[in-house]
Symmetry: C2
Subunit: 331 residues, 2 copies
């Protein structure tokens, strides 16, 4: 499970908490703070929890930065983290900071809640569909953006992507990673979600497999569609790394993968798009729940949905890709 | 405060939690795990909290270690952490592990409790005495032990200490750091403690000053006695580092500094010694609470209580040092 759930000594309450920390992958310290916070909270959101009682921040400042750099960067990271926490309706009340060769940022999210506030991720049934709430390809985009300044690596991918496309994809990835999965968590209750996980380090396949293993029913997950930030699939192929089309590419602060009753999924997708945080927020039906032995797989030749960055030109933004929001897989 | 206290949405309950992480300072990975856990829990114990509902472990394995070294060291650190958590009546249910240039170990301790389970560290009154539950000098001992293999540094201190004394002090420091402050936390309730803090990175003076600042009454803390692991004061002087006698030497997983009513302090000290975890556990009256402006200081020429390591010879162990447990400062 993404979070731990501890029954408490007091009246039917449970303690749910999670921790995450990692290294910066975007250059903007403020956005990095937001991303780190969104990534920590995401584990609660994956359980349909929309409130958080407390956050702690974990931080290391880099010993290889000058005092001046530290003084500029650290407050911005902290502000980004705090702002995202505030957007999540919570606050940061403590934490720990150390000096380290590398920058580390992360946190701890904790909530005490009643049984009906969270959805245990174990009740998928045959016939459910799988919905994904953010496009894949965040780490590919972050890496490709670094390669703009690395001729050797850039040469490997420049045939499939332009510098401008990388720049746009990077901005899109950064925006997506900094977006809270809170709306999705709230809609999980509205539309009777049966189970969910967030997509992070193990990629969509790894997290699907983890989720499948935890199911009470004999089910398996089959993924047909891969919504991917435009051009990132091509970069993944050209570079021979990542495994984005195999579902093994790591994501940071990825979307929720949610098992929903088939008849609810389309409405879930349209609701998320029209929610107040819905600016550009989209969800896709990416697969189905079959009878099976608690495994997950991606079909041969999955359909890649190229998700155009918001910064792309208006005509491009109106391309057919966006119409997939509520389409069902044709398995 | 050492922990954050968050009022919850549910019936008068509070969430108390704390996090700490740092770098190894002893060579034994199992003991390092225990020390890290004791250090995290200590922030709860400083508030008189004896139960912990959940722990998370924060870990980074070092990229400069071989696969083989990692496979040997990491499970031992984890086991040490888990064993100490179990001794504290709690369990580790989650966490996060990353790769980093340096090893990091730490954790998060969380408890949901009622008002009467914790003691806010703000109610010291004039006439209270200050009790310390572990001797100072842990980081001096850890450093001196490293210097055994560093001729340049060893030369600076070899006139004041023997190799065997350093070895014994190191063992003593390791044992003390791995000891939970749980008994002391429990006795804080028995003997009506008014405030407490644990002694870690800011040294006894720094933490006393922090504690003094938080007091509701106009009080100041004056420290007369410094219980220090034998020979560590001499090393601190000879090396010109640490500031152990000035109270600024950092400690790891140090003892609690507790403001107790004068008439209770001697009994507190004798109880802690006879408790079931009391093997060698000792407490000292180190200072008093005066009328003042919420500051803390150490008197000129404080009395240094040389605390003999348990490994020292039997005749040495019976030396007068141990009789200071319940003696009051002669201010």
């Amino acid at each position: 499970m993404d979070s731990c759930v501890i029954p408490l000594r007091h009246g039917g309450l449970s303690l749910v908490q999670t921790t995450d920390f990692f290294y910066p992958l975007v250059e903007d310290p403020y956005m990095m703070g937001r991303i780190a916070c969104a990534n920590v909270l995401s584990d609660l959101y994956a359980m349909g929890i929309t409130e958080c009682d407390n956050m702690l921040m974990l931080l290391s400042v880099s010993q290889s930065m000058s005092e001046k750099e530290r003084e500029k960067v650290t407050p911005l990271m902290i502000k980004g983290f705090r702002d995202a926490a505030e957007e999540g309706g919570t606050a940061v009340t403590g934490g720990q900071t150390v000096v380290n060769p590398w920058i580390i940022i992360g946190g701890v999210a904790t909530v005490v809640c009643q049984q009906n506030e969270f959805i245990m991720p174990d009740s998928a049934v045959v016939g459910d569909v799988l919905v994904l709430t953010k496009p894949l390809g965040t780490q590919v985009a972050a890496n490709a953006h670094q390669w703009l300044d690395n001729p050797e690596k850039w040469n490997k991918i420049k045939m499939v992507v332009s510098r401008e496309e990388v720049e746009l994809a990077y901005q899109e990835a950064m925006f997506n990673m900094a977006t809270l999965n809170r709306t999705a968590a709230s809609l999980m209750h509205t539309f009777n979600a049966h189970a969910a996980t967030d997509i992070t380090g193990f990629g969509i396949l790894g997290h699907s497999q983890n989720l499948a293993k935890q199911q009470k029913n004999e089910v398996s997950f089959v993924i047909h569609n891969l919504p991917i930030i435009a051009k990132m699939a091509a970069i993944s192929k050209a570079s021979g790394r990542f495994g984005l089309l195999q579902g093994t590419s790591a994501e940071t602060s990825g979307g929720l993968l949610i098992c929903l009753p088939r008849e609810q999924a389309a409405r879930f997708c349209s609701e998320i798009k029209s929610s107040k945080y819905g600016e550009g927020h989209q969800a896709w039906i990416v697969g189905i729940v079959e009878k099976g032995n608690r495994t997950a797989r991606i079909i041969d030749k999955p359909r890649v949905i190229e998700v155009l960055p918001r910064g792309a030109s208006a005509s491009a933004a109106a391309a057919p890709d966006n119409s997939n929001a509520a389409s069902e897989p044709s398995s």
